[in-house]
Each structure stands twice: as structure tokens, then as C-alpha cells.
């Protein structure tokens, strides 16, 4: 497989940020009240991820190691601000639906994690593809969760009525508890698939570094564990 296509496959399937790595849980739960919102949030994150990966990769030989975390934060926050203004100007309905969670893309583990673990070490084009793959993987995850919640909770998919009018929507699925419930179901489903594959003796790629494993790993994956290198403290 071409190494550029491999990056996309890696982000979409092998290391899918939502289902495999379990990164970026806050937006995953918060904005997936409908499939459209899920796509919007996913694409906004993808845009930031691609651009920040690109710029960080370009600057990787210039940024001194000791200040790399603040530098990454500035880069990411700048792109988030740009995306925020673009959304406000061109898709105001999505902007108001996502609200607070657009500026909060800054603290999304995925972006910092990719900057630290991939963009800081690899050439520009590969990093762009990596950002694209990861971003699309995130988008797919959010859309899937949004779709499940929208169909059960509202009887619609992408705003179109798909269940018959006699169906009484289970409103709780588009409220806060439904987010936890749907994610629990999807993770359990994934565990089931993995367990079965493990029983068959298929080689399992153990991927760790998700928030679900505990915050220590999440921090080490790039959110903050390395934010302050020990040499800097004293």
C-alpha cells in the first residue's frame, strides 16, 4: 500500500481516534445530538488537524525542544480561531449549534497527540495525510454516534424523517444520558468484536494511549504529560 494511503487507512480504521484510541471524548459526547452536528464538528476538527500538522511539521526543525508544547498550543489555537471565524461567517447555524465546543477544539487530545507523536518527526506531506486520516476517522466516529442518537431519539437521519410517524422518539437519547449510553454500547460492541477475534487467535494490535485507560496514558499520549519537560521545572 502506498505510504500516503496507508496514513489515511491508519486514521480511519486501525487507529480510529473515537473507537480505538478513545481520544477527544468531550466533543464526542457533547455535539453528537444529530448526525449533521457530528459531521460539522468532525470536519472542523479535521481542518484544524490538517493545518496544524502541516505547520508543525514545517517548523519541526526550528522549534526548540524545550518550548515545543507552548509553540504547538499557539499554532493550534490560531487555527482554531480561524476556523471559528470561518464557521461564524459561512455556516452560522452550525456555529450556534456547536457553540462553546468550537474553541474547545484547542484542548482536543487528538490534535496535541498527533502534533507530539507524529507531526514533530515526519515530513510535511505525510503529516498532512496523517491529519486527514485522523480527522476523517474522528468525523466517521462522531457521525456514527450522532446517527444512532438521532434515529433513536428523534426518528430522523440527517434531518430526514426515516422512521414512521407512529414511532414515539426516545427523547433521552438526544439528551445528556443518551450520549453516555450510546458510547457505552459502541465500546461494548467493539470489545465483543475484539474478544472474539482474540479467541480465534487473531493477532491483536494492542493500542493504548486512550483517555479510557486512565488519564496518565492520556497525558503521555500528548495532552499534557510532556507539556512541561522535567528539565524546565527547575
Amino acid at each position: 500500500m502506498n505510504k500516503y494511503v496507508e496514513r489515511i487507512y491508519n486514521g480511519l480504521v486501525k487507529e480510529n481516534p473515537t473507537f480505538v484510541l478513545m481520544l477527544g471524548m468531550c466533543p464526542t459526547l457533547a455535539v453528537t445530538t444529530s448526525a449533521i452536528n457530528g459531521i460539522g464538528m468532525g470536519l472542523a476538527t479535521t481542518a484544524v488537524l490538517v493545518m496544524s500538522n502541516m505547520l508543525i511539521s514545517m517548523l519541526r526543525k526550528i522549534i526548540p525542544d524545550s518550548v515545543r508544547m507552548p509553540a504547538y498550543i499557539v499554532v493550534i489555537a490560531s487555527f482554531v480561531t480561524i476556523v471559528q471565524f470561518l464557521l461564524e461567517g459561512f455556516v452560522p447555524s452550525l456555529y450556534s449549534a456547536l457553540g462553546l465546543y468550537i474553541p474547545l477544539i484547542v484542548v482536543n487530545c487528538i490534535i496535541m497527540g498527533r502534533a507530539e507523536s507524529y507531526a514533530a518527526k515526519n515530513p510535511v506531506v505525510l503529516c498532512i495525510m496523517d491529519g486527514l486520516g485522523m480527522g476523517l476517522g474522528f468525523t466517521v466516529g462522531l457521525t456514527a454516534i450522532g446517527l444512532v442518537r438521532e434515529i433513536i431519539g428523534n426518528g430522523t437521519a440527517f434531518g430526514l424523517q426515516i422512521l414512521p410517524g407512529s414511532y414515539e422518539p426516545v427523547t433521552i437519547f438526544i439528551l445528556a444520558p443518551g450520549a453516555f449510553l450510546v458510547l457505552a454500547g459502541l465500546v461494548a460492541l467493539q470489545n465483543k468484536v475484539r474478544n472474539r477475534a482474540a479467541k480465534r487467535g487473531a493477532p491483536m494490535t494492542q493500542v493504548s494511549g486512550g483517555c479510557a485507560d486512565g488519564c496518565d496514558t492520556c497525558g503521555n499520549a500528548g495532552c499534557g504529560g510532556n507539556r512541561y519537560p522535567s528539565g524546565q521545572e527547575e
Binding site: M22, M25, C26, P27, L29, A30, M69, P70, I73, V74, A77, S78, V80, T81, Q84, F85, L100, P103, L104, V106, V107, C109, I172, L175, A176, P177, G178, A179, F180, L181, L183, A184, G185, V187, A188, L189, N191, K192, N195, C211, A212, D213, G214, C215, D216, C218, G219, C223, G224, G225, R227, Y228, E233
Partner: protein, 191 residues
């Protein structure tokens, strides 16, 4: 006074930061295995969010607004918070050893907690003044502590329960969170 109380109750219970705003899910799932560590995390979060909401409110009001650089708020806030966490850690290490021992390990994790930035941005969005902002920040953090300590208590009790294979680990925690979120709906009558 009444408005301040309304803000506090609203942020701590009715719009609970974890269970209805989905901020700070990472530590909520990761550090809720033991009540003791959950309480430590909660204490550190209260400490940092209260200070951070004070500083971000002040900076917004006295630096960003007069120079009409409001659009830089995201960048400025995240840098202020990152610097502040670092500074608080150094300060506690030097001068308040006992508090550092209790909260120290949790402090670096807090920068990853999107609740801190979330509170700072909410304060601006709802145009709270500095006192309201600090009260809001404190209340949000108290709400976080309540939910993470409750969650840890439930997880300690249910640790040895016979959960089906696929639901072990994260899924059962998420289902517990879902039930807690339903329970927290009960507070919505308060305001």
C-alpha cells in the same frame, strides 16, 4: 447576592459540568477508581479553576477589551491557563509542601481538563463580571468534584460485580455515568 447563588447552584448542580456539559470527561473516566484519588483530583480542580477564572476574567476585562483584541481570547486563555498551572505547581512545591503532597500529582493533568478553558470561555460568553466569573468557576469545579467523587464511590462498590465480558471496563463506567446524568436531571427544578 441572589444572582450569585443562582449562578452557583446552576453551575454546580443543574448544568453539571461533567454530566450535562461533557467537559472534563478524561479525568472523570480515568481518575475515578478510588474515592481518595477522586477527591484529590477534585480538590486540585477546584483550586486551579477558581484561580484561572479570576485571572482570565481580569485579563479579558483589563487587557483584551481595552485593546479590542477579544478575538484572541482562545489563544490567550489557553496560554494563561498552561502558565498558571505550571506556576501554581512551582509555588505549592516551594511554600506549601503539605498541599503540594496532596494535590501535586494531579496538577499537570489539569491542563488537559477542558473544563478549565470551558469555564473561562463561558464567563466571557455570559458576560459575567469578575466576581460572578470566580463564583461560576468555583461552582463548576465543585460540581466536577461532586460527580467524580460519587462516581468513584459507585465504582468502588461495584468493582467486584459480575459484569458481562464485553461491558467490562469503560462501557460499564459510561452506563453508570448515564444513570447519574438521569439522576442529575432531578436538579433542573431548582432554578
Amino acid at each position: 447576592m441572589k444572582e450569585l447563588l443562582m449562578i452557583a447552584v446552576g453551575s454546580a448542580l443543574v448544568n453539571n459540568v461533567v454530566l450535562s456539559q461533557f467537559l472534563g470527561i478524561c479525568p472523570f473516566l480515568g481518575v475515578s477508581k478510588r474515592v481518595e484519588t477522586a477527591a484529590g483530583m477534585g480538590g486540585a480542580v477546584i483550586f486551579v479553576i477558581t484561580i484561572a477564572s479570576f485571572f482570565t476574567s481580569v485579563i479579558y476585562k483589563f487587557i483584551l477589551v481595552p485593546t479590542s483584541f477579544e478575538y484572541l481570547q482562545t489563544i490567550v486563555f489557553i496560554l494563561v491557563i498552561a502558565a498558571l498551572v505550571q506556576f501554581v505547581e512551582m509555588f505549592l512545591k516551594k511554600s506549601m509542601q503539605s498541599l503540594y503532597n496532596a494535590l501535586g500529582v494531579y496538577l499537570p493533568l489539569i491542563t488537559t481538563n477542558c473544563a478549565v478553558l470551558g469555564v473561562a470561555l463561558t464567563n466571557v460568553q455570559k458576560s459575567y463580571n469578575i466576581l460572578e466569573g470566580v463564583i461560576n468557576g468555583f461552582a463548576v469545579a465543585v460540581g466536577f468534584t461532586i460527580s467524580i467523587v460519587l462516581m468513584a464511590g459507585i465504582r468502588e462498590k461495584t468493582e467486584h460485580n459480575d459484569v458481562s465480558e464485553s461491558f467490562k471496563g469503560t462501557p460499564i463506567v459510561l452506563i453508570t455515568a448515564s444513570l447519574m446524568a438521569i439522576a442529575f436531571f432531578g436538579f433542573s427544578g431548582l432554578i
